[in-house]
C-alpha cells in the first residue's frame, strides 16, 4: 500500500498528490513537467516531501511536520530509472545482481539468480558484456531485472519500455506483467505509451499541468 497525501517538490516545481495504491499496478500518465518522475523519486526517498505524509505498506516514511524521513535504502523499493542508471563499470549480470550483493548475498549466488531473470527478459546472451556497451533496449531490460530481482515491497517503473523496439516489446511486457503479478506489490508505472498502460495497469492516474 502506498499512501501519499502531500506536496511533491523538485526545485521550483511543486504539486499536491492524494494517492492510495493497494497491491495493484497503476499507470501514471501526463505530459512532461507534470511531476511524474518527481513523484517516483519522492516515493523512493530520493527527494523529500514538501509537506504532508507518505506511508509505504503501513509504515510512515516521510512526514516533514514531524521531521520524519526514512532513507531510500530502508524502503525496499525496486525502481527503473528513466536513464536506467546502470553502473558503467559492471557487466549486465553484475548490475542485475547488485541489489542482492549490496544486501549481503554471495556474489556467485546472486549472479545465478540474476542470470535466470536475464534469461526470462531475453538478455542472457549479453550477460557478461560491460553495461556501457549495451544497446538502449538491452540496458533497459537489465534495469528492469535489477528493479525486480530483490523482491521489493514497492515497484516504481519510469518509462520501462521506452527504449525497447516494437518487435520485442510485447514479449517484455508480458514478462513484466507475470513478474509483477508474482510479486503482488503496489506498483507505479510512468509511461507515455497508451498501449503499455492499458496492457499492464489496472487503473490510471492522469496528471494534468498545474
Amino acid at each position: 500500500m502506498i499512501s501519499l497525501h502531500g506536496t511533491v517538490v523538485a526545485g521550483e516545481f511543486s504539486r499536491r498528490f492524494d494517492l492510495e495504491i493497494g497491491n495493484e499496478i497503476v499507470g501514471v500518465v501526463g505530459q512532461n513537467g507534470t511531476g511524474k518522475t518527481s513523484l517516483l523519486r519522492t516515493i523512493a526517498g530520493l527527494s523529500a516531501l514538501g509537506s504532508g505524509q507518505l506511508s509505504l505498506n503501513g509504515v510512515m516514511v516521510d512526514q516533514p511536520a514531524k521531521r520524519l524521513f526514512v532513507l531510500p535504502e530502508l524502503r525496499s523499493i525496486g525502481m527503473v530509472f528513466q536513464d536506467h542508471a546502470l553502473m558503467p563499470f559492471l557487466s549486465a549480470v553484475g548490475n542485475a545482481a547488485l541489489p542482492l550483493v549490496v544486501r549481503g548475498m554471495k556474489r556467485g549466488e546472486a549472479k545465478t539468480l540474476a542470470l535466470e531473470l536475464l534469461e526470462q527478459f531475453g538478455v542472457a546472451d549479453v550477460a557478461y558484456q560491460l553495461s556501457s556497451t549495451l544497446s538502449g533496449g538491452q540496458s533497459q531490460r537489465v534495469a528492469i531485472v535489477r528493479a525486480l530481482i530483490g523482491n521489493p515491497s514497492v515497484v516504481l517503473l519510469d518509462e520501462p519500455l521506452s527504449a525497447i523496439d516494437e518487435e520485442s516489446r510485447n514479449g517484455v511486457r508480458s514478462v513484466i506483467a507475470s513478474r509483477l503479478s508474482m510479486l503482488g506489490v503496489p506498483t507505479l508505472i510512468v509511461s507515455h505509451d497508451q498501449v503499455d498502460v492499458v496492457a499492464l495497469c489496472s487503473r490510471v492516474e492522469q496528471l494534468n499541468r498545474v
Binding site: 523512493a44 526517498g45 530520493l46 532513507l71 531510500p72 535504502e73 530502508l74 524502503r75 525496499s76 523499493i77 525496486g78 525502481m79 530509472f81 536513464d83 542508471a85 553502473m87 558503467p88 563499470f89 559492471l90 547488485l98 541489489p99 550483493v101 549490496v102 544486501r103 535489477r146 530483490g150
Partner: protein
Amino acid sequence: MSTVGARTPRFVQVGAALGVAFLALPIVGLLRRVSWLTLWDQLTQSSSREALRISLYASLSATLLALIVGLPLAWCLARMQFRLRRVVRALVLLPMVIPPVVGGVALLGVYGKTNGLLGGVLDSVFGIQLTYSIWGVIIAEAFVAMPFLVLALEGGLRSINTRYEEAAAVMGASDLARFRSVVLPMLRPSLVAGLMLAWARALGEFGATITFAGNIEGRTQTTPLAVYTMLESNPEGAYALSFLLVAVCVAVLIGLRDKWIGGFAR
C-alpha cells in the same frame, strides 16, 4: 595553406626548444655524473640502504596518513556546500605553495616538544615525541604530500554522477556499501593517480623533514637528506641515490601517463 592559428612562428619554436633544454640538461648532467660501475655498491652501502629503508617506510606511511584524512576532506570539498569551503580549499593548497622549510617550522610550532602547541601535552601525557623521530618524518611528508591526493580525489569525486549512488541507495545499499560498490570503482583512476603523486612528493620531501625531524642517520635521514649529506663526503653515493630517485619518479610518470600526460597531449 595553414590558418593563422595553426602556424607557430619560428621564434616560438626556438623558445620552446630552449625550454626543453632547460628541463632536460640537469637530467643529462646527473646521468653523466653517475658511476655506473659502482652504482650497485653505492646503493647498497649501509648509509644508503638505511636512507632508502627510512624513505620507503616513511613515504608509504605518509601516503596512507594523507589518504585517511584526505579522502573525507576531498569528499566534503567535492560534495558539501559550506560557508568556509573556499577557506578550506586554500588551506589544502597551502602546503603546495609555502616553502617546505616554513612548513617544517610551522610543524615545530605545533608538535615541538618544548614550545609546540600540542607537543608538550603529547610528550608529558602520552610520552610521544614527534620531532627527531620517524613519526616526525611521516608527519612532515604527509603535510606536503596531502594536497596532491586531496586535489586528485576531489576532482574524481566531482566527476562521479550522483545518480549511480541514488540507484544504489534505492537498491538497499547503505552508505558504506554505496562507497564500496559504486564510488570506489568509479574513483579508482583518480585514487591511483593521487596516491602515486602524493607518494612521489613524500619520497622527495626535504625541507619540512630536515627542519621538523632532523637529519639523523639511521633514524630520520631519508634519501633526499642522505643525498644532501653525501654530496660533501661521498659525491658518488649522492649521484647514485639521486639517479634512483629520478628513476622512481619517471616510473611514477609512466604509471600516470594515461591520466596526466596523455590527458594533456590530447
